[in-house]
Amino acid sequence: MIQQLKRTANLFYILFALIAWWVTATYIQPFLHYNFQQIAFVHDIEFFYSYANYAGGIADYIAVFISQYFAFNFFGSFLIVSVAVVQSLIALWILNFFVVNSKIQISVFCSFLLASIVMMCNYSFPYYITIRLLLSMVIAVVFVILNNKFTKLSVLFYVLLICLVLYLAGGAAAIVFGLSSLIIYSLTHKIRNTLLFSPLSILFTAILPYIAYKFIFLQSLKDLYNITIDIPPYMYQPEKWLYVYYLLLPLLLLFIILIKKTQGKGISIAAKEKSKVSFRHYISNPTFVFLIQLVICISISYTVFTALYNPQKKYKLLVEYFAENKQWNEVLENAYKIQAYDYKVNFQANRALFHIKRLGEQLFDYPQLSGVNGLFFSDNMEGSVIMPISDLYWDLGLMSESQHWAFEAQTILPNSPRILKRIAMIYLVNRNYRLAEKFLKVLNKNSLYNNWVTQHMKFIKDTSLTNSNPEIIQKRSYNPINTDIEKSAFGTLETLLQWNPTNRMAYEYLLSYSLLSSNLDQFIKYIPQYRNFKYNKMPRSWEEATTLYIATHKSLPENLKSDLVSPETMEQFRQFSKIIANNNFDFNASKPTLQSNYVNTYWFYEFYLSPKNNQ
């Protein structure tokens, strides 16, 4: 019976692992971790040294190696689940080592698997946290074996192994190991020895990171005690679940003590409490216990996962991901799924609208609540916007600013493939082939980008090939040479347009900037140039702005044709004005009616959303 249950449990372990793989690949999608964190493993001895000189560095190095494969969704998911399964199996091994025929195996397996997987619901989660814990657990197993084989030398092994954990996996992992080994010790030694060992062990575990801080590692004290390292771009904020994850092993060991004590008392309890026979009957029925655990595990797994999995956050990352990969329709698709306004999404939505040639037409389909900051991030220096700023200037063809922000980003993420690619491309545009080659060589140390490097190295070997690359040709023609650029975004756009009047993005952004800053005079100054770009028809938001200009100025400048605005738009504006007039020009009272019909118009933006007019 027990053997059959074991086989069933094994099947369920495999089933759970497969479900975890499916969930990870389908819902969590590790490629988003890869993209958001810009994970990069560099095949370089210096890269290894940079990890080997601090507590926890080796685990971090292993973590970067593994997590680079998150770039491949299914393989990355497989790796995540494999590591989680290893942790679960270690937990099971420890349980089975101390408790014969334990009935809680399935719960233990599920707990560790679940904890390890749900951590990945947070896309800022640094994977080294998992690897650090894994190393701590592996060394705990070593301690169990050594402690069992050489009981008299337990204390010596404890001291040596905790130091090893500290170096390999950092202070928090050492504390987990310290607590675990104390419990393991108590399970295998007499109470007198445990009482003697406990205070010493607790004290040593607690002060070991401090000793390391004072005499060995040049790290901050915080970094030596915390589970995470305090390093820019400071993306991850530890959650309470993280502490649960790290305490799972000590908790399991405490539970083992409890089981062992209960097992010891089991007979006497049974003798005394005859009245509870029927309940004990169920409890002692392995199938019943197994099924109950199965139900509880599935319920908890579902509850915890749904509590931690946040599709809204995922959509934001998908917007970033698709923007990086120039999949503009997908950018918009995900942007519209996001319920709460986000200025970064707004920024990418505007870029996407430009690239699908709908910026003028659909500018106000996305709520432009940040005004011009939704175009340029001008008032923001948040770490996660730095590379998108570089992207925007790349799109616009202003290489100096794209380079400036790419270098700022590279300061924080020195090996990021996205940043290195950008810098290499900028130098190709600028005909600085020597520097382009340098950055390509650096990128080539990342094995996932060897093909990309090979494709671009051909531009170095034969520089004339750059003259047949459409993107490089376009950027070269847009990039103003030896022209001092004003710091204001509008001035930059004007300069770009003066340098190359065919720079459509500079033109559309310039008009959009005028609209979003509620500067209709500026808008009207540049609108005549729209004919240069051969639009099929005047884009909607520009028509609406022109209508408003006519309404407020009673006429158009002489160089503008009166048929600039279609009769339909004029009629819509009349209706818009009528609603306000019907509400005695009470804008608050008019808002609900206007919102239902005009929310995606420039007029509604101007009256209700513009940060400038609605402060």
Partner: protein, 497 residues
């Protein structure tokens, strides 16, 4: 029996490997020197410099290099790799025996047809003058606004060992480290600034470590650009309000001051003093002491009225006498004006014998590292004649430092790629003549190809900084002691004047 047979196998493998190396016999001689990287040809080198490892940039399948001096056993390196790494012990032995003689390097390359070719001998000269054993520098990324991990390091230039003096990761990534400075190339008299989080100035004065807040209510800012008095007890600081401006021309960024003055900090008294002559509406900056400690040299630009003036102003070179014991100031003299040179003067440094001032000149401003047109100049203090130095390149050649003997100079140059700053060395004789500069040697000759950090403020020091990084870190985490303002100061120009 088994062990014996294993030995034979190993011996056979060794013989086979040796046999694979063909001997250089009757090479066809080419009438030019080989292309090598970095350029270590035609140099004067210190007798205690680390091996000048290099890459042979000539196509070939095998390479042989013979390095020799007269009366010494040559170093012979035979390799399938074009990266030539010289044995450090043999190298130092060769240099020690070859002081004052030529160091000859013969390069042979085996071409694809199996024939060897030889090149004209590369001749470098081994100077009698040793160079200070260590170089201190900051390693920073190319970002201008944001910083992350950064540190100040020391490299033993007799070998390839680099050690950390202090890294911000040891206390807080939000802190910025800068402006490390030494008194007379002495590693035991060092200071550095910590900015932003844990801000303050750390001073190690011969083992006494302090953390000072040099900002007073009457000064524009905390101390910025420092220079130690030769007595090791005073530090002259500029106090500045600095900003950055981004451009799209050959100069991508301009750094300029709205205000700047100069103050003197007395380490023993923890006191800041100055004179009205150095706290005017003009922008006094970058103080540097004469080797006898009697004069303070500085640069100065007119006061700024708008952004254009501020960025494109030119700095003059001035000096003022000062007695640190009596606190007596002299009057300000112009040493060299920008009106005369047509360029802006920056980073004056006086040779230890007091004969020369080496300085940078660029079209405008003082923050020369971002100006490709920046070059190094030399002013003979006895004749007043200045000249552009031979060591310049088409790219930025900027921040420089004399060795303790004055016979060597290290300076920052972007000549290798126009972007990254690397330390270059050259010999400097008693008449101010210099030799061809060479880049700091690295174990891997291709190191600079993929190294994406800048060497910032290279400072030669006579030995290793003996204070531990942990002690420095602990000091950084302490609260800074506020410096006192000299009560005898009668007037100080302030921003509100």
């Amino acid at each position: 029996m088994k062990i014996k047979s294993k030995k034979y196998v190993l011996l056979l493998i060794a013989i086979a490997l040796y046999a694979c190396h063909s001997k250089v016999e009757n090479p066809e001689m080419v009438n030019r020197q080989p292309q090598i990287y970095p350029d270590y040809t035609g140099l004067v080198i210190p007798p205690n410099i680390a091996p000048l490892n290099f890459k042979i940039s000539e196509p070939g399948s095998e390479f042989e290099v013979r390095i020799s001096t007269i009366n010494s056993e040559p170093i012979i390196i035979h390799s399938n790799d074009s990266n030539i790494k010289i044995d450090i012990k043999q190298w130092h032995k060769l240099l020690a025996n070859g002081k004052g003689r030529d160091l000859k390097t013969d390069v042979f390359v085996r071409k694809s047809d199996g024939k060897w070719i030889g090149f004209k001998t590369i001749v470098n000269y081994i100077s009698q003058d040793s160079i200070d054993s260590h170089l201190a520098y900051r390693l920073i990324n190319t970002g201008y606004v944001i910083w992350s991990k950064m540190g100040i390091y020391q490299r033993n230039i007799e070998n390839f060992d680099q050690k950390t003096i202090l890294e911000n990761s040891s206390f807080d990534h939000g802190s910025c480290l800068n402006c490390h400075s030494f008194s007379n190339n002495n590693p035991n008299s060092m200071m550095l600034h910590v900015r932003a989080k844990n801000g303050g100035t750390i001073i190690n004065s011969n083992g006494k470590l302090i953390k000072i807040d040099t900002k007073t209510n009457s000064t524009i800012s905390a101390g910025v650009y420092p220079c130690w008095h030769p007595n090791g007890k005073h530090i002259a600081f500029s106090v500045n309000t600095i900003n950055q401006h981004f451009l799209n021309g050959a100069v991508r960024i301009e750094v300029s001051d709205e205000f700047s003055d100069i103050v003197i900090y007395d380490i023993e008294k923890n006191e800041i003093t100055t004179t009205p002559e150095l706290t005017t509406k003009n922008r006094e900056n970058l103080p540097v002491w004469s080797p006898d400690g009697k004069y303070l040299y500085l640069i100065s630009a007119p006061k700024t009225t708008n952004l254009q003036d501020r960025i494109y102003a030119k700095y003059d070179l001035l000096r003022i006498s000062y007695d640190v014991n009596t606190k007596k100031w002299g009057t300000l003299d112009t040493v060299l004006s920008s009106a005369k040179t047509g360029l802006s003067i920056s980073f004056p440094k006086i040779s230890p014998d007091g004969k020369f001032i080496m300085f940078c000149m660029s079209p405008n401003g003082y923050f020369t590292i971002h100006h490709p047109a920046t070059d190094l100049y030399l002013l003979n203090l006895s004749t007043g004649i200045y000249k552009k130095m031979d060591i310049n390149s088409p790219q930025t050649d900027s921040y420089h430092c004399f060795s303790s003997t004055g016979r060597w100079v290290v300076f920052s140059s972007k000549r290798m790629d126009g972007l990254f700053t690397r330390p270059f060395f050259c010999h400097f004789d008693t008449n101010g003549n210099t030799s061809k500069p060479f880049v700091l040697p690295q174990k891997d000759p291709e190191f600079y190809d993929t190294f994406l950090k800048n060497y910032n403020i290279p400072e030669l020091i006579t030995g290793e900084v003996n204070i531990s990084s942990a002690k420095l870190r602990d000091k950084v985490l302490e609260k800074a002691i506020p410096a006192k303002l000299d009560t005898t100061i009668e007037y100080m120009y302030s921003k509100t004047d």
